[in-house]
């Protein structure tokens, strides 16, 4: 009985270790860059990159180890002088548009940008014609009255 309990206790002790790595976070996962300007650039970018493990969070918001490793990549690349958009492009090359929260005009997304513009243009045309017509009606009515 006691042995069974001990085994059970041991099993419970070892469970949390499974499914979770034991290594410390990457150097720049939770450490800011010393230069505030560079850190601001990195933070702005991190807020617009998707965490791949927890897909509705940005890597800036996530505590997943992989998000930490992605933050390390972002910070160390910015520190090495890369532009934020180059880092974004590096990730998009590997994971596709999905990794970025910042919408890009691409072969599949262009209708999202073009359709609203066309609709607004159409609405404007209709409005101009209507206003023009009602003004014409008014002047016609005035002419009749005179």
């Amino acid at each position: 009985m006691i042995r069974a309990l001990a085994v059970l206790l041991l099993a419970m002790l070892s469970l949390p270790a499974a499914g979770q790595d034991a290594l410390p976070p990457a150097p720049y996962a939770y450490t800011q860059l010393e230069d505030p300007a560079l850190e601001a650039k990195a933070t702005a970018l991190m807020h617009t990159l998707r965490c791949l493990k927890c897909q509705s969070q940005s890597i800036a918001d996530s505590d997943a180890p992989m998000a930490g490793d992605m933050r390390h990549q972002v910070r160390s690349r910015i520190l090495a002088g890369e532009e934020p958009e180059a880092v974004r492009a590096w990730l998009i090359e590997r994971y596709g548009d999905y990794v970025s929260y910042s919408p890009e005009v691409s072969q599949t997304t262009w209708p999202l940008f073009v359709v609203p513009a066309l609709l607004a243009l159409g609405a404007l045309l209709v409005l101009v014609r209507r206003l023009g017509r009602s003004r014409a009606d008014e002047t016609a009515a005035e002419g009749d009255a005179a």
């Binding site: 990457a26 150097p27 180890p65």
Partner: protein, 183 residues
Amino acid sequence: MNASGTPSRLRWWMWLPLALFAFFAGLAGYMLTQEKEQFVKSTMVGKPLPAFALPPAFEGRPGAANTDFQGGKPRLLNIWASWCLPCIAEAPQLEALKAQGVEIIGIAIRDRPEDVARFLERHGNPYTRIGADEISAVQLELGSSGVPETFVIGADGTIRYQHIGDIRPEHVALLKAELEKAQ
């Protein structure tokens, strides 16, 4: 032009916005019932394997570099970790692939040498080399978003195929076919 005539002439297209709205509402409702793709696929398939060089993950095997995939034959690149439970489930399938003469090079993600050694002792070691990727750097280079994942690397050093998740018995033949295609 009389007031009652105009609306009846316009009627059919006046319903258009509502129809459009109903279409999109219906589409949204339908999409909610569809299962969402849970994994992010790598867009590196078809591209050359990025350059990397990782130190050994434990004493028993040398480390791994992209140059280890050059020359002669297609190989498997297996991303795994000793702390990953599905990796235990796929161990017999990796053994089966090894028995069929497939070279498997491993990359251990965020792992400790002692844990790697213990895992391999318990579940078998199908790897010729195992690199230690302590900060998932190579994993990110490959466009991989979890463990385990397995890539088929062609004889010419390009990434040919990505298998996401553990390799189940029914996937062995599929991977073998992809390896043959990658000759």
